[in-house]
C-alpha cells in the first residue's frame, strides 16, 4: 500500500459517529411542537385509560334527576341530556376514539404499505393497474363512502375499524410506492440482483427495512386522520351505539344542546378531538424532519 493511505480521511469522523437513531431522537426532541404533541398524546392516553380509576362515574344508567347540569364541584364538566357525568364520559368516549383511531390508522398503513411496495417493486403494467385502483379509490370522497355504508349497515367496533382502514390506505400506498421505486434502483439493490440475489431478499432485507422511517411517518399522520374520521362517523350515523360513545358521538349529540347554551356538552369533546389530532400531526411533522424523509407537507 502506498503512503497515500494516510491521505484517506480518518476512519471515523466524530460528527458521524452518533447513530442514525440517536441523531433522529435528538432532532425530534429539538422540535418543540412535536415534543408538546407527544406530551398531549401521553396525557390523553393516561386520561382515558387511567382516569376512570381515579374519577369514577356511572356511564350506563340514565339519571334523570341530574340532566344538563352545568359544571359544579360534583360534576366538574357538568352532565349531559341523560344525566351522565361529562368528564367521566370524556374518558369513556376517549377510549373508543383512541382505540378505533389507532387501529384504523395502523391497519390503513399496513394495507397501504403492502399494496404500494408490491406495485412499486413489480413495476410495468402491474404497477399501472394497481395505481389506477388507488386513483379510483381516491376519486370517491371518504365521507361519501361512509355515508353510503351508514345507509346500508351499522357496524360494530371491529367492523368500524375495518371500514375506516379500507377507505384510508390509499395515501400511504402512494408514499410507499414512491419510496420503493427509488429503493429498487439503488446501487445496493442493483448489486444484489446482478450477483444472483432473489426478489425476496431484495424486498425483505433492503427495501422494507429502508422504508421503515417513511412508513412510521405515514402511520403517524394516518392515525391523526383516522381519529378525525372517527369523529365524523357518529355525525354520519355510523357511530357506536349508546350507552357506549366516542368523542365524535358526544359532539354530534351535544350539537342541538349547544343552541340552548349548554356549552359544556360540545367544547370538551371538541377540544379533545382537536388536541389529539393536532398532537399526532405535530408528532408526524417532527418525525418526518427527524428521519429526513419525504411525506406530506
Amino acid at each position: 500500500m502506498s503512503s497515500l493511505t494516510s491521505l484517506d480521511t480518518p476512519a471515523v469522523q466524530p460528527e458521524l459517529a452518533a447513530s442514525n437513531t440517536r441523531l433522529a431522537v435528538r432532532r425530534f426532541l429539538r422540535n418543540r411542537l412535536a415534543v408538546v404533541g407527544l406530551g398531549v398524546v401521553v396525557f390523553f392516553v393516561l386520561f382515558c385509560f387511567v382516569g376512570p380509576l381515579l374519577y369514577s362515574t356511572d356511564q350506563t344508567h340514565t339519571l334523570l334527576q341530574q340532566v344538563n347540569e352545568s359544571p359544579s364541584g360534583a360534576h366538574w364538566l357538568g352532565t349531559d341530556a341523560v344525566g351522565h357525568d361529562e368528564l367521566g364520559r370524556l374518558m369513556y368516549g376517549g377510549k373508543v376514539s383512541l382505540i378505533v383511531g389507532l387501529s384504523a390508522g395502523v391497519l390503513a398503513t399496513v394495507i397501504g404499505t403492502l399494496w404500494g411496495a408490491a406495485a412499486g417493486y413489480a413495476g410495468g403494467w402491474i404497477d399501472a393497474v394497481m395505481m389506477r385502483v388507488v386513483d379510483a379509490g381516491i376519486a370517491i370522497p371518504a365521507l361519501f363512502i361512509l355515508l353510503v355504508v351508514s345507509a346500508i349497515t351499522t357496524p360494530d367496533l371491529s367492523g368500524l375499524v375495518l371500514i375506516l382502514g379500507l377507505i384510508s390506505w390509499l395515501v400511504p400506498s402512494r408514499l410507499v410506492r414512491a419510496e420503493t421505486l427509488t429503493l429498487k434502483n439503488r446501487d445496493f439493490v442493483l448489486t444484489l440482483r446482478a450477483t444472483g440475489g432473489g426478489h425476496a431478499r431484495a424486498i425483505t432485507r433492503h427495501i422494507l427495512p429502508n422504508s421503515v422511517s417513511t412508513v412510521i411517518v405515514a402511520a403517524t399522520f394516518q392515525i391523526a386522520d383516522a381519529i378525525l374520521l372517527v369523529a365524523y362517523v357518529s355525525y354520519l350515523g355510523l357511530g357506536v351505539q349508546p350507552p357506549s360513545t366516542d368523542w365524535g358521538g358526544m359532539l354530534s349529540s351535544g350539537m342541538t344542546a349547544a343552541y340552548s347554551g349548554y356549552w359544556w356538552l360540545i367544547v370538551p369533546p371538541g377540544l379533545a378531538i382537536i388536541l389529539v389530532v393536532w398532537a399526532f400531526n405535530a408528532i408526524g411533522d417532527g418525525l418526518r424532519d427527524a428521519f429526513d424523509v419525504r411525506g406530506r407537507a
Binding site: 411542537l33 379510483a136 370517491i140 370522497p141 371518504a142 353510503v148 345507509a151 355525525y235 389529539v276 407537507a297
Partner: protein, 319 residues
Amino acid sequence: MSTYSFLIRRVLQALAVVLLVTVVVFCLLHALPGGPARGILGPQATASQITAFNHEQGLDRPLPVQYVYYLNQLVHGDFGMSYTLNEPVSQLITERLPKTLLLTVLSAVIGLLFAVPLGVWQAVRRNKPVDYVITTLSFIAYSTPVYFLGLILVLVFSQVLPWFPAQAPQGNSVGDILAQPQGLVLPVVAGAATMVAVFSRYMRSATLENLGEDYVRTARAGGTRPRAILTRHVFRNSLTPVVAMLGYYIPVLFGGALVVEQLFNYPGMGLLFWTAAQSSDYPVLLGCVLVISIATVTGSLLADVLQRVIDPRVKAGRS
C-alpha cells in the same frame, strides 16, 4: 410528448378510473343485505315480496349481465329513478351539481388566496414566532372536524354577533344563491378553513425547498435582490407542485361540501346525498357517488393540464 397525445392518454386513464368507480358502486349496490330490495321495501318485507321486486327490477339475473345493463343505462344518462323523490336521479343531480360546484370552487379559491401568501410568509420567516403561530393555527384548523367548526362559526357569528345568517341561501339556480351573498359567508369560511391549513403547509415547504435551490444562489451571485428573487423566481417554482396537489385535494373538498351543505342547509348535491342516505334512496346515493367521482377525476385532469401550462418541463416529459 405532444399536448394532443398527452390529452388522449390522460383522458383514457381518467376513463379507466371512472370505469373502476362504476364497478365499486355496482358492488356496493349489491353488497346491501338482501340486495337493493331489502333497502327499498324495508326490514318487514317478506321473502316473496323481495323475489317479486327483484324479478321486476331485473335483479335476479347474473351479476355481469346486470353490470352491463347498468353501464348501458349510465352511458345513456339514465341513473334510475329516486325511490323517494319521484324524479329521475339525473334531473336531481343536474339541478344540484352547479350549486355544489359554486360552493367548492368559492371555498377553494378563497382558501388558496389566503393559503399561498401565508405559506410564503412562513417560509421567509422560518422558525420565527410568526412561523410557529401560523403553523400551530393551521394544525388546529386541520384537526377540527368541519361540522364542529361550522357550529362554532354559527354560535359566534350568527347567535352571539348577529352578523351573518345561520342558514345558507335557498333557490333553484346558481343565480338565486349568488343573489344572497351574505348567506354564503359562513359556509364558505367553514369549507375553506381546512384548505388554508393544508395548502399553507404545502406552500411553506415548497418555498423553503426552492429557497435552497442552486438557481437562487445564481440569482444572488448576479446581484438580484432577495425580494426580487422571491417574487420573480421562487414563487413561480413553488407554485407548480402546489397546483399538482390541488388535483389530489378535490375529493377532500367534496367531502367538506357534504358536511357544510348539511350543516347550513345549502341546497346542493351534498344535502341531496345526505337526505338520500337517511331514506336509503340508493339510486340517488350511487348516482351522486358516481358524479362526484367523475368531477374528481376531471378536476385532477384539469390540474394536470394546468401544470403543463405553468411548467414547460412537464410538457417536455421531463419534470
